[in-house]
């Protein structure tokens, strides 16, 4: 059983939902990222989504784009991201690590090379934002052969027939994008998200994570009532932006704890 699935199963026993924070590798520096990853776990993260910096992150809002730009300024790209993951794994072999990135850096180093590096860093799942299922069949097949979960996004606009098709290729969990927009946007409509998640749940046993608009404990609490995981990204990156190295870990600790407590 995959580490991701095992984590969901364990949480279920104690009636908890998974908290999945997102940070970009190399933001604000490779050394800090490793400290941040450990801090996230200490503060209550059940899994971690690690962003691969990209020059043109089309599906992300300005906050995550700035994180990418800071990381790229420190020369952190796809290879360095996997080195950071490897360094994290030296101390932590329990917490599932999920990479989130765009297709071009993966294709640039080659899919086989990417998978080799993922294995050596013990990566559990990959979200490739701009690889919809119809363009990534061979890639998803290779992920599965390597026991890496292929995690797909579902949007508010994704039709039922398409959801069924995506479920066939997906593993680990499904990532429901809670609003029409980019990461870090405001104001999700809880009722609407609830209805959609209910609809998806009727089609699959895969756990469902919700992200793209979850910014505070109140929203997280409400969304956790009907989903299996909460993904929170831009809100944490805002803390990184607003902190210096002396108070960054403490500020991240506060926000993660405040959310973990209520879900």
């Amino acid at each position: 059983m995959s580490r991701i699935r095992k984590t969901f199963d364990t949480l279920k026993i104690s009636n908890q939902k998974a908290l999945i924070p997102f940070v970009t590798a190399g933001d604000p520096s490779p050394e800090m990222t490793i400290k941040i990853l450990h801090q996230l776990v200490t503060s209550g993260a059940d899994m971690i989504e690690l962003g691969i910096p990209f020059s043109d992150p089309m599906a992300d809002g300005p906050i995550i784009q700035r994180a990418s730009e800071r990381a790229l300024a420190k020369n952190v790209g796809i290879r360095k991201t996997l080195e950071i993951a490897k360094e994290f794994r030296k101390q932590n072999q329990v917490t599932p690590l999920i990479l989130m990135g765009y297709a071009n850096p993966i294709e640039a180093i080659g899919i086989d090379e990417f998978l080799k590096l993922c294995k050596s860093s013990d990566i559990d799942g990959v979200i490739t934002v701009d690889y919809p299922p119809e363009e990534s069949k061979a890639y998803v097949e290779k992920l599965k052969q390597n026991d890496i979960d292929a995690i797909f996004l579902l949007a508010p606009t994704t039709e039922k027939k398409r959801i069924e098709q995506i479920i066939k290729q997906a593993s680990g969990f499904l990532y429901y994008v809670s609003l029409k927009g980019v990461t870090g946007a405001q104001n999700i409509d809880i009722e609407q998200v609830k209805n959609r998640v209910g609809e998806i749940k009727s089609l699959t046993d895969l756990p469902i994570g919700v992200g793209f608009g979850v910014r505070d404990p109140e929203t997280a609490k409400n969304v956790a009532k009907f989903s299996d995981a909460i993904v929170i990204g831009s809100r944490i990156i805002q803390e990184i932006e607003a902190s210096d190295e002396s108070n960054m870990l403490e500020n991240i600790n506060k926000i993660i704890r405040s959310i973990k407590q209520v879900i």
Partner: protein
């Protein structure tokens, strides 16, 4: 190339093209595909399209024999397809008329666009005003500085111009920002992409709307010269004017198709915008797979060209396919050569060409020199250069 039939139903031109977008855009693209399929052969839609091309744009644009330029070079005869005489001053308007009509048919009250040189932004703002649609144009803040007359033009036409501060602050970043807007406002917004790039069906749709240029040329060359040209030359940034004139010529195997990219400071310096000529690696950006200027870890690198409209790290996927299949050839002209051709054309023919177009003219001059006098070259004179006079004056150290 008699049976050229691309893209396939999923938008692939051989290994290029496709639909590489986040799930959040899939539904909007599916809707667009269905609507475009429905209207592209619809008689009423096409009548409306051609009516606007004739009465609003001023088509057909003439073909003009550049007699003095031809004499000066002393080789092949050079003809121009005068897209610079279109309303708004470039070929870009053909596509925006088509897409805006489609937006209207789809009941979308708001259109958005990205722009580099500003020509596509102006063309979109123009047709939006004509059809009573709200219009927002995304433009890299670097380009806003380089192309201030076009920025003001768009504002006069009632469009909102949003300067984009992210990334390299040029065309590619404007495209990212427009895609983000579209994802957010997908229910009431139509995204009018200005070039033959982006996810399927854009490369095909933009090509189809622009192919009026090539279709007219085939008729006009026959009437004027009695034969088709030995070479058709067009500049290539994303590649919409080139695709527009190339596409109808693909079955004419005796006509060479030559795309001219921007060599900027020179291919060897790395500071250029010529992914095809430089044989850049293939990658995925803005929804399609194509040749792409990038570093060895897949980060898109900054491009350079004196002309904002060619300053793009990728190229339309169909050009990638035409390069691989050798149906078209791709070459590059540097800033200096383009500027020389710009000045030469002003004084020799009384035409101020766009800096983008000047790249195609510079290569036409080179090629004409090597060909005999009975050969003919048709250059797509894709746009006029009024928008560039500040840039050109600046390079000469003149304040206007």
């Amino acid at each position: 190339m008699q049976n050229y039939n691309f893209p396939d139903e999923n938008g692939h031109f051989g290994p290029y093209g496709g639909t590489f977008v986040a799930e959040t855009l899939i539904e909007a693209l599916d809707e667009l595909k269905v609507m475009y399929e429905q209207f592209k052969d619809d008689k009423d839609f096409l009548n409306e399209f051609h009516h606007d091309l004739k009465h609003f744009v001023g088509r057909p644009s003439p073909i003009y024999f550049a007699e003095r330029l031809t004499k000066k070079i002393g080789g092949a005869q050079i003809y121009f397809k005068r897209e610079d005489l279109n309303h708004t001053g470039a070929h870009k308007v053909n596509n925006t008329v088509g897409q805006a009509l489609l937006a209207k048919k789809m009941g979308k009250p708001r259109v958005i666009a990205e722009t580099g040189a500003g020509q596509h932004g102006v063309a979109t703002a123009t047709i939006a005003a004509r059809l009573g649609l709200d219009c927002v144009v995304y433009m890299g803040s670097e380009d806003v500085k380089r192309q201030s007359p076009n920025v003001y033009r768009m504002k006069l036409l009632g469009a909102e111009v949003v300067p984009v501060e992210s990334g390299s602050k040029t065309l590619k970043d404007a495209l990212n920002e427009a895609l983000r807007d579209w994802v957010t406002n997908v229910s009431n917004t139509f995204y009018i992409i200005g070039t033959v790039a982006g996810p399927h069906p854009y490369p095909m749709m933009v090509r189809d709307f622009n192919s009026v240029v090539g279709k007219e040329s085939i008729v006009q060359m026959d009437e004027l010269v009695g034969k088709q040209p030995d070479a058709v030359i067009a500049c290539v940034g994303g590649g919409s004017n080139a695709m527009g004139i190339f596409y109808p010529y693909i079955p004419y195997e005796n006509t060479r198709l030559i795309g001219v990219e921007a060599a900027g400071h020179g291919i060897e310096t790395g500071k250029h915008a010529a992914p095809l000529t430089a044989n850049s690696p293939v990658g995925v950006l803005h929804g399609n797979r194509t040749y792409m200027m990038q570093n060895d870890e897949g980060q898109i690198i900054e491009t350079h060209s004196v002309s904002a409209g060619l300053d793009y790290p990728g190229v339309g996927p169909e050009h990638a396919w035409l390069k691989d299949t050798k149906r078209a050839e791709y070459v590059a002209i540097n800033d200096e050569e383009a500027l020389a051709a710009f000045h030469n054309l002003c004084r020799t023919e009384g035409i101020i060409p766009a800096l983008e177009t000047s790249h195609a003219i510079a290569y036409a001059e080179k090629l004409a020199r090597d060909l005999s006098k009975d050969k003919t070259i048709l250059v797509n004179l894709s746009g006029r250069g009024d928008k560039d006079i500040n840039t050109v004056a600046g390079i000469a150290g003149i304040k206007i």
